[in-house]
């Protein structure tokens, strides 16, 4: 067990700067998820920690040791790969014990560790099989088993669930979480899937274009995004963005949405954005903050109703996603199943301003 520290980490491939200065402190036992769109550098960061990529500049420390020049095998870390990377010519048991056998661990000890890991993962009856005889989920378990038997200081996961179907992905997510609760090993997990990030992480690190946009608890990055990128990346369907102006109306500071309603701002937020009065800002409003008029849940009375024309309706069972037009932009709302909006209809939707994010279009920072 160890903490991991990244200091001003940079990676350049030929002329492309893939990672542009990452600073991150990962305390012992923490489960950190690096999330971002493809090409944001998250996998490169992970591979540098693993030792599979050279570091262009900066430092990586595992525990007290600076590992920049330490080969992967001496970093005492284990990695789970996206395509599992199981050795096809070895049985499950041989796959799991390979690292221990290379390290000349005593046979009896190897057998014990493999058995224990297999029991934890529920693959004890598969030990004699070869990878091709296993399903995707079983292969994934074996790959994790291979990591567990090594008793590493740090677990690295590189998009481990992206090859599984949706149902299995949900199951494995729970298992990874259970595994971490049981083993408490420091874990760094890379994914492009924000659901995985939200559900697994103690701390989510949102990356974009080689930089960290924001690092915080799942709650923080979801509810208090620092940048427009984070606001738009986390959450599905994505946050609505539209232009607005901050003005004073009837003694209230309000954000007047382009072609839409004026939303009164909470006092604290109003104080922060008052100086932007008269300028065009970007308003970010999550779909769940635009609801049907007769909303029963929450009873949040501060909503502002507004008439819109419905474009597309996506019923999902437990809720309905409604796309509607407001001026030139298409926005998205989540409404309950008790209302049945139809495409082309005019209807009244309620905008709830309590979670409205105001973004400075020049800096893309949330104000």
């Amino acid at each position: 067990m160890a903490d991991v520290t990244l200091q001003n980490l940079v990676k350049t491939f030929d002329t492309v700067e893939a990672v542009r200065g990452i600073d991150l402190q990962i305390p012992n036992n923490e489960f950190v998820v690096l999330v971002g769109p493809s090409g944001c550098g998250k996998s490169t960061v992970l591979r540098m920690i693993a030792g599979l990529e050279d570091i262009t500049s900066g430092d990586i420390r595992i525990g007290d040791l600076r590992v920049n020049d330490v080969p992967p095998k001496d970093r005492n870390i284990a990695m789970v790969f996206q395509n599992y990377a199981l050795y096809p010519h070895m049985t499950v048991e041989q796959n799991m014990s390979f690292g221990l056998r290379l390290r000349k661990v005593a046979k009896a000890e190897i057998r014990g560790k493999v058995q224990r890991a297999a029991d934890i993962l529920g693959i004890a009856e598969l030990l004699g099989r070869r990878p091709r005889e296993l399903s995707g989920g079983q292969r994934q378990r074996v790959a994790m088993g291979r990591a567990i038997v090594r008793d590493p200081q740090v677990f690295l996961f590189d998009e481990p669930l992206s090859n599984l179907d949706a149902k299995l992905r949900g199951q494995m997510r729970i298992e990874i979480q259970r595994l971490h609760q049981q083993l408490r090993t420091t874990t760094i997990y890379v994914t492009h899937d924000q659901v995985e990030a939200m559900t697994l992480a103690d701390r989510v690190v949102v990356m974009n274009a080689g930089r960290i946009e924001q690092a915080g608890t799942p709650d923080e990055v979801y509810h208090q995004p620092r940048t427009r990128f984070v606001a738009g990346f986390m959450g599905s369907p994505a946050m609505n963005f539209l232009n607005c102006q901050v003005t004073e109306e009837n003694g209230h500071t309000v954000a007047r949405l382009a072609d839409g309603p004026a939303l009164p701002l909470p006092a604290e937020q109003a104080a922060r954005v008052r100086s932007y009065a008269g300028r065009t800002l970007v308003a970010g409003l999550r779909p769940e903050n635009i609801r049907e008029a007769a909303s029963h849940d929450g009873g949040n009375s501060s909503g502002i109703p507004h008439d819109v024309s419905i474009d597309i309706v996506e019923p999902l069972g437990r809720e309905t996603i409604v796309y509607f037009r407001l001026g030139d932009s298409t926005l998205c709302a989540r409404v309950g199943t008790e209302v049945h909006p139809r495409a082309g209809e005019q209807t009244s939707l309620v905008f709830h301003p309590d979670r409205l994010h105001l973004i400075d279009p020049e800096t893309d920072l949330v104000l």
Binding site: L52, I77, M79, N83, A85, H89, G99, L102
Partner: protein, 294 residues
């Protein structure tokens, strides 16, 4: 649209029809020569009388024939082993250089394989020439006594194997290179995390992953090498004193040059059962392993 006659409208009929050229080729170029050779091998020297297996029993009683059998096996074994080792080493070396630079190396390494062997062997023959050739000239300059490359039994066999390895190693190189490229890079990364060094990666990952290619390539090469003709024909004509003859050159000597075609046919047919058994064993293992990897 024209209507096809009823027979051609049936798919199986069309399929059989389309395979006819292939069947004709196999029949004309494989089956007919093979059975004709079998037939020839049962005739007397004048090809006028059926003598059964007399040609074979005559061969089995001759020392020279058994010498040719031993020589052929020794030649094929040593040459294939060296071709495989050199091919594997070269494939590995090329595989480690960045993809951009690989093409020119691959191209250069293939040159010995694409030159018609009769021609390149002629070049070698000139190099081995005892008095005026480059090799012995160089040796003399280095104060090493000249080597009788083609007139001493050991050196003649050495030279033939050397040229065969030079011609054949690129084939192994290409096959192994393709096999190496088919191994997912993630396996090596996983092995590296598991603590494997370069040799361990080679023995525990590379070798098991390309075993099938090694087996098939080796089988193929053994067949081709055992049946080799041109190198011996150009370099030594089987000399000195028949000590470099292989099945094919000996069959040529007996059948064409000495005019006993049935006996020559018997010599060349002797290879067939050996190769058939070998092919059976190797291919059976390949299938079994392929099933376990897939």
């Amino acid at each position: 649209m024209r209507v096809l006659p009823p027979l051609l409208r049936r798919k199986p009929a069309v399929a059989v029809l389309m395979c006819v050229p292939l069947f004709a080729l196999i029949l004309g170029l494989v089956a007919y020569p093979f059975f004709h050779a079998l037939f020839l091998a049962t005739l007397n020297k004048a090809e006028t009388a059926f003598v059964g297996l007399d040609n074979f029993s005559f061969l089995f009683g001759r020392q020279t024939f058994w010498m040719v059998v031993r020589q052929s096996l020794l030649f094929a074994l040593v040459a294939v082993v060296f071709k495989a080792l050199i091919g594997l080493a070269a494939a590995h070396a090329i595989n480690t250089i960045p993809t951009k630079g690989q093409r020119k190396w691959r191209g250069m390494m293939l040159i010995p394989w694409v030159i018609p062997p009769a021609l390149s062997t002629l070049g070698w023959w000139w190099l081995f020439e005892p008095t005026y050739s480059a090799i012995n000239w160089g040796l003399t300059k280095l104060a090493v006594p000249a080597v009788p490359w083609l007139s001493d039994t050991f050196w003649a066999r050495f030279s033939i194997i050397l040229v065969n390895v030079w011609v054949g190693a690129p084939f192994f190189l290409i096959m192994y290179l393709a096999a190496l490229k088919s191994i997912p890079g993630e396996l090596y990364e996983a092995a590296e995390m598991d603590g494997a060094g370069p040799w361990q990666k080679f023995f525990y990952i590379t070798l098991p992953m390309i075993r099938n290619i090694i087996a098939i390539t080796t089988l193929f090469s053994i067949i081709v090498t055992l049946a080799n003709f041109d190198i011996v024909r150009v370099l030594t004509q089987g000399g000195p004193l028949n000590t470099t003859h292989l099945f094919a050159t000996y069959a040529f000597r007996v059948g064409i040059e000495s005019g006993d075609i049935p006996l020559g046919a018997a010599v060349s047919l002797f290879m067939f059962p050996m190769l058939a058994i070998l092919a059976f064993i190797i291919l059976r293992n390949v299938r079994r392993r392929a099933a376990s990897l897939a």
